[in-house]
Symmetry: C2
Subunit: 660 residues, 2 copies
């Protein structure tokens, strides 16, 4: 058995970037590009050439494959070739490499050497003329056919070194011969690459999480979606662009939890929004106390008016009263005693929650219904979903569901809330989650932050896993925030917002520096909003709202903070002080950030700035303008002194200005 | 469109070892094993289990797939699982992973916790009994069916914590339930692994290259294959196991090169054996002056009698007089003037050589004929081929040719002589070459050797690229050997033979320390055997034959030198002294080798022995026995002194003896 492409002499291997060998797409956003690398070579000394072919595949229907576009590959060292694929639109894209032995390029290279050596080149000129004839027969344009015929005639008529030299040096001939290169024996890369291009917000966003039921301005009253509309200006004024609401559906009553997660609730208690479903409806209903679908439509519209988007929480689990339980008992695991299996982590029991059984016989019915929940809200204007515990639902479901949804709505954004082991979180990102929660909340020391950020930004993980940094969530009040005081809230915010292009806070708990846990050693909030209504004084003087407003404005003004590239840590001689820079490729935006990680004490240090990274000359002074305080500093050279008083401002956020 | 395996909840990814994602096999030898690693997990908290399935595929015919065998996978950290595949025979093997959610294992784990917590477990016991019932219905053996029925009955009858505890702790039940686990929703890894298992000599061999025509004992006379038979005892006495002969075919006469590569030869000159083919025949003929096929058969037999094998040189190129040129002019590139394109590297011309055109229309005919050359010699008892310049022949040809040949002769060994760029050499190894020449000849300094050996032994390259270290070849007389004197020949031999399980020398030039180049700055030998007959005094007193004999004996006695694993460099404070250890996994064989890389001067140093690597206690003395001199040394701790006089012996080859 001979291989079909036995005469294709170019080897194409090690195509990059690929996720799991091309099984999953790399992620980019509109306006970015993919830098494709590949190893190519052939036997012997012949010259090769190649292109990257790429096409958006979203609109592909049987029989209507979109046409390949192509960009050239350029040779580098060690048989590595590379090229740039532009990404002007959202959606899925595929790419491959096509390469061939180019006999004209070999001929051109060799003819120069022969002429230099003074050899008889008459036969070689005829060989070249025949290559040009052949290209002429492939030429689509008559003008090109004529031009090629002229060149073939010229070197046949003038069998001289001069004519040969002209042919070797002519850009016209090179362009024509490249355009009409003989690709009949071209190699197509066995590996194919995939890219998913998301809209820009997928790569750069500031989230604010708030409980609608706490939004009423009337003390003790259950908030409504209309109250959320009134709350929007507050969130928008801080510069957030995503307002994320915990589940807005009817809350189950059977086994409803009380305040502070009490096993039973008192009459009138509101329960957890994640215990979804009651006789009033399920995942496609709105909690009656929150309002109507008209109210929801008004909220979506009002958010857009504030240049914000609404994100909904999708938690695929049911309270015992959820309509699904009666309609589709086969979607849940049955126990021999006729009851439905509630959630457990033995010996703990969560009797207010029924998980779906992804091994059930009617899995296709279950999948279809779950997907339709996203569609239901997408049709009502939602384009961002925060998905609760995706790692407790079957992975094949997510791959199918996310792909189907993105085919209809390529602008959807999914945030994966999977606080679990790395391989599991990375798999979810590969399967199509746009952004992911991270371990950031528990990375506090300089070493931890440097290691974690290096991992996220400078390993293959960066191709498909987009971190979203949250210093707190309704489930996570870290020890650092419990004990660090207001300075900790300030420094953790600055870290999240300047280390990661996507970040979010759970407010108003965050800006008001709420720090009391339900008990010692717990990360749960005291009087958690998960189980009760909480209303606050948003104008409290200790609120860090002004800092948040400032930081979000700086993020919008500085492109260097809008992706995860070009993050570089700089050495300091005090392990309580973290220093890093952010920049853009052409150095038109450069920030040097210095953070005191100790919220209790003033620290100072000598920083060794990596001048090369920031394009700063060794011997010339440069200016550092602190975007937080407005103060300016003149530095020269690498080694410079910094002191940070955490209670005033735990960080410098320097813009680096290098005089021309 | 739903995926067919939508209910298969286990994710299996990152299967290792794979070469290019499973496109090519990893290489092993008979008696070794493959340590397979894979990442596996499922959603939620269920327990999973899995196996590695593997099968030898050589004998596979349509409709007769060999049966999968299986070994269990064991869980490690970070969702990594691993297992060991044994390799008792030669040939190609494939492997994959199969994994499933194991509801019995989950039940067993959870039941223990429930019992510990004092919960009512009656429903849980019934759930377990049903799992056991189901396994019973899958059980093939009646005895197993009965045993499972007994267990189900036991826990149904005795609905107690004690019965539950017994079921959790029973090895019998665990074994049965593991054996009859429900794999109906198992995941089969998308990635498949390939292994090619070679016979042992592929991984451990000592080669000796000699020109048959120089083997006559009568001065000036053209040697014969019968002379080679007389030469065998000399080679065998040094402990080599492969005798490799340059091409033994008729040598072309047109444009035949003279002594020292002169453009024209004098009458009577023998020409280069690599200018293959004349009116007397081509690649399937024997040079008439060397002898007959009977002589060849006698030589093959005699070599085996000395426990050696013959390796032939296969050079796919033709002298202008080769019969192929007349019979198949279409296999060569035609020039417009009616001549055949000779080999070139413009402006250099090699008019005595015609390369094959792998783009020719009759490529299938060409491939078939080239493959038949290997088959021709394989049928005459040759199982080892050194392939000349494989990188100047089309890569698809090699992939096809080597696979076809190994299907008929799984014991074939191919040594790739591709002195070219790394990616090209690695591709040839992936395509099926068993061993490969390397850059060793030009790696002289400590830093160069450490870097190169670390690359070859401790990166993914080690999975498929088997280096064969040659300090010299007929084409390569390095500057180090030209200028380093006898000590350089000694140290380079010791390095090649103890750093690499496969090595070879071109003799008798090597053992006789021939060091004169044809001209200053050239790596070509003066009066090279490539162009003339050379006869030597094999008993010259400066011959390093005794050292070679000793080294080959040490290699055979010490398993630590027989593969490339467990190579570790130890720090020395003199950059002219290289120190490394070789060991086996269980420390039953440990060598510490110290080489003075400067052939001119005595050097001493302090070595910091990595005691941990060699399993030596910090505080106890250990003995070093020098296998070259017989002298013994007592060392304690890491830091020890060494001095090496290159003219006596440029290296210590210590066996490490640690008292129990």
């Amino acid at each position: 058995m001979f291989p079909p492409s036995g005469r294709s002499r170019v080897v194409v291997e090690d195509l990059q970037p690929l996720v799991d060998g091309g099984r999953f797409p790399v992620k980019r956003t509109v306006g970015e590009f993919v830098h494709v690398c590949v190893r190519m070579f052939t036997d012997g000394h012949d010259v090769i050439a190649g292109v990257i072919q790429y096409r958006f595949t979203a609109s592909r229907k049987p029989g209507s494959n979109p046409v390949w576009q192509a960009v050239p590959l350029t040779a580098g060292d060690n048989d590595l070739w590379s090229g740039i694929v532009p990404l002007p639109q959202a959606g899925p894209l595929e790419f491959q490499v096509v390469a061939w032995v180019d006999h004209f390029l070999s001929w051109r290279r060799d003819l120069s050497k022969r002429i230099d050596a003074g050899q008889d080149i008459r036969v070689d000129l005829e060989i070249g003329a025949r290559l040009i004839d052949a290209a002429g027969s492939r030429a689509a344009e008559i003008a090109d056919q004529h031009a090629l015929a002229r060149w073939a005639g010229h070197i046949r008529l003038n069998q001289t070194a001069e004519a040969g030299r002209e042919a070797c040096e002519s850009n016209e001939l090179l362009t024509l011969m490249t355009h009409y290169a003989d690709r009949s024996l071209a190699t197509v890369s066995e590996q194919k690459g995939l890219v998913f291009v998301d809209r820009e917000r997928a790569g750069f966003s500031a989230w604010y999480e708030a409980f609608p039921r706490s939004c009423s301005s009337i003390p003790g009253q259950h908030g409504t979606l209309r109250d959320v509309i009134d709350f929007l200006p507050y969130v928008a004024s801080m510069g957030f662009d995503v307002l994320y609401l915990p589940p807005i559906h009817p809350v189950g009553t059977t086994h409803r939890k009380g305040r502070n997660n009490a096993p039973a609730c008192e009459p009138g208690e509101v329960g957890s929004p994640w215990a979804i479903g009651s006789t009033e409806g399920g995942h496609k209903s709105i909690h009656p106390q929150l309002g109507s679908f008209d109210d929801f439509a008004a909220l979506v519209k009002a958010a857009h008016g504030h240049r914000m988007e609404l994100a909904l929480d999708i938690a695929f689990q049911c309270a015992p009263d959820h309509p699904y339980v009666k309609q589709h008992p086969d979607w849940f695991r049955q126990r021999p005693d006729g009851t439905i299996q509630y959630a457990e982590n033995p010996p703990k029991k969560y009797q207010d929650i029924y998980p779906f059984d992804f091994e059930c016989e009617d899995w296709q019915g279950l999948w279809t219904e779950l997907k339709s929940i996203f569609e239901f809200w997408a049709e009502r204007g939602v384009r961002i979903f925060r998905v609760d515990n995706p790692h407790t639902k079957a992975f094949p479901f997510w791959e199918w569901c996310l792909a189907e949804l993105k085919a209809s709505y390529p602008d959807l954004i999914f945030l994966s809330e999977a606080f679990t082991r790395p391989a599991v979180r990375y798999r979810l990102a590969k399967l199509g989650f746009t952004q992911s929660y991270t371990y950031f909340a528990w990375r506090n020391t300089r070493a931890e932050l440097e290691e974690y950020l290096t991992h996220l930004s400078q390993t293959p993980v960066a191709e498909y896993f987009r971190p979203n940094f949250w210093p707190n969530t309704p489930d996570i009040l870290t020890e650092a925030l419990q004990t660090g005081g207001r300075a900790a809230f300030m420094s953790r915010l600055i870290l999240a917002a300047t280390l990661c292009p996507n970040y979010g806070i759970y407010g108003p708990a965050y800006e008001l520096c709420e720090h009391l846990p339900v008990k010692h050693g717990s990360e749960e909030y005291l009087n958690s909003e998960k189980y009760e209504i909480r209303q606050r004084d948003l104008n409290a003087s200790h609120s860090i709202r002004p800092l948040i407003t400032q930081i979000n404005a700086i993020r919008r003004a500085h492109p260097s903070l809008q992706n995860l590239r070009h993050l570089k840590f700089h050495t300091t001689d005090n392990h309580q002080i973290l220093s890093y820079s952010r920049r853009v490729a052409d150095q038109s935006d450069r920030l040097l950030i210095v953070v005191n990680l100790d919220p209790h004490r003033t620290h100072h240090c000598w920083i060794s700035v990596d001048l090369n990274e920031l394009g700063i000359p060794e011997d010339r002074p440069y200016e550092l303008r602190d975007l937080l305080t407005g103060r300016s500093y003149q530095w020269t050279g690498s080694r410079n002194f910094v002191e940070l008083r955490p209670h005033e401002m735990p960080a410098h956020l320097f813009e680096v200005m290098v005089p021309q």
